[in-house]
Every structure is written in C-alpha cells, then in structure tokens.
Amino acid sequence: MIITYFKRIIRTGFINFWRNGFLSFAALIVLTLSLSSFGVLIFGSAFGRTLIEEVKNKVDINVYFTLNAPETSILELKKTIENLPEVEKVEYVSREQALTSFKNKWKDNTLILQGLNEVGSNPFPAVLNIKAKEPSQYAGIANYLDGKDSLSKDGTAMVDKVNYNQNKLVIDRLGRIIPAVQKGGLIFAAILVVVAIIIIFNTIRLIIYNSKDEISVMKLVGASNSYIRGPFVMSGVMYGTISGILTLVVLGIFAFYSDLAIIKFAGVQGTQDFSLIVNVFSIYFKQNFGEIFSIIMGSGVVLGAISSYLAVRRYLNV
C-alpha cells in the first residue's frame, strides 16, 4: 500500500507539473534566474579568490645585498628568516642568477647587452625575495630585518637596502583592503542568497495559491494532509531539479564563453597585462563541477521541496 501511495504522489506531482503549463514555465524561469544568482556567487568568489591570490603573490619584500656580501652569510640569514612564523617562503637569487636572468630578458636588445659588457664586472647584487603568509605581516618581517645586524661575520656591510619602505603604502593598503573586500563579499553573498530564497519561496507560493480551492476540496473528500501535500512537494522538487539543470547549462555556457567575452571587452593587450582574469571561470567550472553541481541542484531541490511544503501547509487548515 505504501508503494501505491508514493507511486500516486509521484505520478500526480508529474501530471500537475505538466498540466500547469505556462505557470510551470514561468516558475522555471524565475527559479533558474534565482539559482543563477548562486552561480554568480560561486564564480564571484572564485574570481575574487584568484584575484586576491594574484595580488598577494605580487607583493613581497626584497633584501638587496652589497656586491661583496659573502654568500654563506646570506644563506644563513635566509635560513633564519625562513624560520619566522609569518614567512611563507624565501627565495635566494644569487648575483650570477640575476645576471643570467637579465641577459635572457634582454637577449634581443644588443644595445643593453653592449652596455652591460662595458660595465665589465657583474653589477647585480644578490637578493632574498621574501613572501609573507598575509600582506599585513610584511611590517613585522621588515621590523625584524631592521633590527638584524647588517654586518657579516667578517665585519663587512652585508645588506644594501630593503625595499619594504618603498612599497609600504601599497602593502599596508592591501592589508586593509583585502579583508574588507572579503567581508563585503560575504555580506553581499548573504543578501543575494536571502533574496533568491525569498523569490523562490514566493514563486512556489503563488503556484500553490492558485490551487488553494482544490486543496480545500481535497480536504473535504477526506484526503490526509500528507496525501494532499505530497504531489505539491513532488512538483516543487521537479521545479528545483529542472531549473537546477537549466542553471548549470547557463553557468557552463557563461564559464566557457567568458574568455572570449573578456578578450573582446578588454582587448588582447589588456588581457595580457591582466592575464590573471582570463580562463578563471572555465578552469574553475571544470575543476569544481561536482561542488557546483551539488550546490545548484541541492539548493534547487531543497528550496523547491521546502517552499512547497510550507506553502501548502497554509491551506490545509480546513
């Protein structure tokens, strides 16, 4: 009997969905748009995270050493800095590596290479490139370096300059802006989610309002609340499922065509200058499809079912 009961509920849910025709179609569009706002949030946060990571990666502190600073002392200092808790990584660029890198960069420019030859000896200092875990931690690292003895063991001057002071303003601003952007993004996301939920709930409530007389008739012929509610919840699940699929299709199209759109909008040069923003969406969509699928479909089905359940409850008190 239970099987028959559920079979009837599912069958009636499908039939109602189909017979509602235009109303179902309109509801699917509204639900798809609302679920798309979840997609906007997913992509927005992926884009924001990539952007922030890129900016963070571009921020660092460079310690430039004097030309005669002994390499062993530099490597010792590197080890000490690496042990600091706020340091993510320290990269050592020797004088020879700096020279090779310069030559490679300007290999096509004979004028510059000629100038380099005229200088004779290697003019490039060794550099320690320090990356902190968070932009706000650079000040602490710079303070540590300031307090460090700048002489090597044999008493020669070792550190020529630390570029934190030149970049201090930008680093400090980033340290303040990034948490604010993250916080603002969270608030925006919460508002968008609430608005989407309200829209979905009201759309389904309108459809069920349209059936309120039928619900009272069902009550009067002795149907139980669960038997009346079942097909409506089933239709709600269908609205959620179909609009979830439509949303995934829309997001997929957006993700894979966003590269073209960005190139068209920003121009080739612009996209090269800001190469970080191209391919973010398509790569993110491919890599995280399982997660996106679960969020969109889960939200659609759960919201569809809960909205229907609550909306019908209103009319069951006959």
Partner: protein, 228 residues
C-alpha cells in the same frame, strides 16, 4: 439512535452577524431531509458545520454520537470519507479529468488501483457521463459538472450525502435529472441532506422539510411542504 444531531448550534461571525441561532434537530439513517430557506437563512453554514468546514460558536454537532468538532485530524479525515458532499459550485479539481476527480476521492480513502479502475466508470455510467470520462471540468456543462460531483460523492458508498444547493446553477432539465439521481441514491439506502430554495425540487423530492429563516429552524414538516 439518530445519525446526525444538532444540539443548540449557534454561529456568530466576527462582524456580529448571526448565521445560526440555537439550531437543534436530528436526522435518522436513510432519511431524506430537505432544508429550505431564502438566501442568507443559514442553510450553507449548517452544511459547512457538518463537514467541519466551519465551527459553531456555541452548541455541538454529533455524527453517530461523536462530536464532530472534537475529532482528531485522522478521525476527521475518516468521517469525511463517510460523507459525500455536493456543492452548488461543483468544486471539482480543475486540473483533473472527470475520471481523475472521482478517482481522487477513492485514492484518499485508500482504495486500490483495481477498485478505482472498476468503480469510477461504473459511477460515471450511473450519472450518464460514461462518454465524458476524460473531459476536464472546463469542457463540461454545469449539469455535467454537477453529475461528476455527485458521482464523486457516491463513489465511496458514503453513509450520508450532503448536497448544498446542487441545482442552484442548473437549467430546469438538468434540475430534474439531478433530483432523480439524488432520490435514487436515497432509495438505495443513503441518508440525504439537501438544501435548496427551489420549490420544484422540494415538490419532486417529497419527504421531510426543514424551513430556515434568519438562522433559525421555523418549521419541521414530515410531509414535504414548501412554505416561505
């Protein structure tokens, strides 16, 4: 033991208007009771009380000695399955065909698919609608809709049929048709409680007539008189 017992039932609406004023009467099993009265006399309110669509402000209504308004939800559903209801405005489910409207009442009663498949065409034939089985309400005339509503009311073989102005929206030919069907149902042993303000209906039905005015029962005639 009476099947239905109204014990000093009063219904006062929030705007202070009195729909029923200390109404008391009984209905015996297999009886055909017609309730007559002008619009606003309280006939529909009285019917709504019986199916617990409305609640009395004072007094009690008993169905086989059980107070209807003290029943739990499940018991109420069971009771409603024992009462077949016919309304003036048909109250069919608009997105369901004639067959599905009747089948729904059977499904609600827990009938099997086999029973539904055999009983629904049978009752539709009884009300001469065998050929309109798959029509939706909007594809049927008023008389046809009312016959579907009657088929739905009788399909679970209820103990009582409550018909609230079942001929109110119908033309004279359909009125005769519907009265014939309801009389036949009563002759087969089902109690019928019918409201109307149509003299011809009362004359055709005969039997006991309760006359209502301003929320009160002012006459209770055994001989089927329509005096207003």
């Amino acid at each position: 033991m009476p099947m239905i017992y109204f014990d000093k039932v009063t219904r006062v609406y929030p705007d202070e208007s009195i729909a029923l004023d200390s109404v008391s009467f009984t209905v015996e099993p297999k009886e055909f009771v017609t309730i007559v009265g002008h619009s606003g006399a309280g006939k529909t309110t009285l019917m709504k009380m019986l199916i617990a669509e409305d609640r009395p402000t004072q007094g009690s209504i008993f169905f086989e000695s059980k107070n209807i308004h003290k029943l739990k939800k499940k018991e109420m559903n069971k009771l409603r399955r024992r009462i077949g209801t016919v309304f003036q405005d048909f109250r069919l489910i608009r997105d369901k065909t004639a067959y599905e409207n009747i089948a729904f009442a059977m499904e609600a009663s827990g009938k099997t698919d086999k029973e539904i498949a055999s009983d629904v065409p049978y009752v539709l034939d009884l009300v001469n609608l065998g050929d309109k089985m798959w029509n939706f309400p909007h594809q049927m005339s008023g008389g046809e809709k009312q016959r579907v509503a009657i088929a739905r009311a009788i399909v679970n073989q209820p103990d009582i049929i409550i018909a609230d102005e079942p001929t109110g929206n119908l033309d004279p030919i359909n009125i005769i048709e519907i009265v014939k069907i309801i009389k036949k149902i009563n002759e087969m042993g089902t109690t019928v409680l019918l409201t109307t303000h149509n003299k011809e209906v009362v004359d055709r039905v005969g039997g006991r007539v309760l006359t209502m005015e301003k929320g009160k029962i002012i006459r209770d005639d055994k001989a089927g008189k329509y005096i207003l």
